[in-house]
């Protein structure tokens, strides 16, 4: 056994203090990253990848149709008008699809927003690939203006056969203060 001190009590205490500090650090350096990695890898919580999908699918599966529904929600206190241009579309797995969401800022001041996507059923998250998405970046908007925000996606050909409908939901958050705070801190 490692000996820190000749006094056995000091030795015990030193080891225990190290353990306690290590457990505190464990939360930040192990639990948080591990949770994020696991969620990414398993697509749990309907979390989708935050990066654009770049691989190529083996071709379009014309024999299959999947319904994609779009849902848009404003987080509490978010004044923007935000919604999909179409409520749902039917797509073939493997094909690339485009749509847009629109957002408008009714307030006089410029704001920054962040949309957070979520997939339901969460099992489908790993098979829903976004090649382009406004959710990859923050959305600044001047006061009293609006924008069209593009979304491009591919449904994986390996999507489990029993899934016929995928719901893609976005919640839009006001991150103006967070962005300003980060700039101010710098």
């Amino acid at each position: 056994m490692l000996k820190v001190s000749r006094n056995p009590v000091v030795d015990t205490v030193a080891k225990l203090v190290v353990t306690a500090v290590a457990m505190f650090a464990f939360v930040f350096v192990v639990m948080v990253p591990l949770y994020n990695v696991l969620c990414d890898a398993l697509g749990i919580n309907g979390k989708t990848s935050g990066e654009a999908y770049t691989s190529v699918q083996a071709g379009v599966d014309e024999t299959r149709m999947v319904t994609i529904q779009f849902v848009a929600t404003n987080n509490e206190g978010m004044p923007w008008e935000f919604g999909p241009s179409v409520n749902s579309m039917k797509v073939h797995p493997g094909a690339s699809n485009d749509t847009v969401f629109h957002a408008s800022n009714p307030l006089p001041d410029a704001m920054v927003a962040q949309a957070i996507p979520s997939i339901s059923p969460s099992r489908a998250a790993a098979y829903f690939h976004k090649t382009e998405c406004f959710c990859f970046n923050q959305q600044p908007l001047d006061g009293e203006s609006s924008a069209e925000m593009p979304l491009q996606f591919i449904v994986d050909r390996d999507l489990p056969q029993d899934i016929h409908t995928i719901t893609l939901s976005y919640t839009i958050f006001d991150v103006t203060d967070m962005v300003r705070g980060a700039v101010a801190a710098r």
Binding site: V13, F28, V32, N36, C39, N45, S122, D174, A185
Partner: protein, 520 residues
Amino acid sequence: MGDHHHGPAKGLSRWLFTTNHKDIGTMYLWFSFAMFILGGAFAMIIRAELFQPGMQLVEPAFFNQMTTLHGLVMVFGAIMPSFVGLANWMIPMMIGAPDMALPRMNNWSFWILPPAFLILASTLFMEGGAPAFGWTFYAPLSTTYAPPSVTFFIFSIHVLGMSSIMGAINIIATVMNMRAPGMTYMKMPLFVWTWLITAFLLVAVMPVLAGAVTMMLMDIHFGTSFFSAAGGGDPVLFQHVFWFFGHPEVYIIILPAFGVVSQIIPTFARKPLFGYDSMVYATASIAFLSFIVWAHHMYTVGMPVAGELFFMYATMLIAVPTGVKVFNWVTTMWRGAMTFETPMLFCMGFLVLFTIGGFTGLMLSIAPADFQYHDSYFVVAHFHYVMVAGAVFSMSAAVYYWLPKWCGKMYSETMGKTHFWISFIGFNITFFPQHFVGLAGMPRRIPDYALQFADFNMMSSIGAFIYGASQILFLYNVIATIVSGKPTDKEKVWEGAEGLEWTVATPAPYHTFERPPAVR
């Protein structure tokens, strides 16, 4: 160590500066009792509001503050410090040590507690009110939507966490280094064993709790987004971190209680514990398993099926070592020459009611069934059976059992038994009906409920008032014993008792085992 050979100092400074394990134990015990009364007062407000359906007495926001503070004060202020107090008093006397290994740190770990709870209680008077997000303080309720007082809440959790860690380190250092010659690990009384394991759990998970509240603090004040989806974080992460602390925490609460019961039952059954070794191994396996079951509190967050199954089976596995313990206590009593003094009554009450709580725990551990039970009064009934009838009953047993040794006076057996029976009946009237309203769908943490639940809730409230009143009787019994109990100087207060603490004079002198005893 100059103050080694005289008695206690006089006046207030005795208590402020004391490094004596008995003084500190006494302070912990009184402090925890004060917190028990405070938390109990919050509970009385909750039950008064729920006496009838409809909004009766308090605002919903205040009701939520009451459920939150009730849970926090009972878990961190009443139950945990009471067992630390007991550890301080008994562990040195049970292993033949003159004091705790770190007497000065012992003083600090006690004295930072009252300020922590003063801060927590003072949030009631702050703008926006006290924390109202439940004792489990799930984000984002406790971050984005928290009242401003949440910062004080976080600070008080940090301080009381420090206190627990210091107390735990002290206990481990004492048990590992201060045992009398010949007191091998496998000769230690079970109370010492269960506390040693509990202390390791504390050192492992209190820092995790500190990490959780630190992340909250950073999210609230420093612009991080650990738990905020807007910044790429995830509120579910909070639940994982919290319950990684929280499930071991429930064993931190119950293991010392197991230790107490394992001391008392053999005394009044006049037989040695049926299986000492199996008891030690069962305790250790419960402690180990407690680290891999946390997500049974989170079956409904949308885990993958594999996760649900893993946590379900792991949770069910805990029933095995727990069963080993229950059968151990029962077989210890089997064909024993039993008598039913107050401590024994409380232990038997513990045994019956804790087992009921264990069974409802097993029901809750079934993931698909838990989707119905979760966040209902059924869960409330479950954890009050294990925490009140488990931890609090065993604490009452411990007080009646060792009080004569502490103060050299006998309590009144009639009054003790009265306390037990009123507690036992009051407790069951309070919490048994909660199983039924829970199964019928009454959610927890609400100030109002559907009319169909009215009768059972009224029963619950009446039971709660009875149970609450019986704790005033407890206070009376303890004070009456200290002031005017029948003096006793028998070293072995109970004829069937075993262990070093029964070899010292009664009442226990200020300093014991200054020279280590011989252990056979």
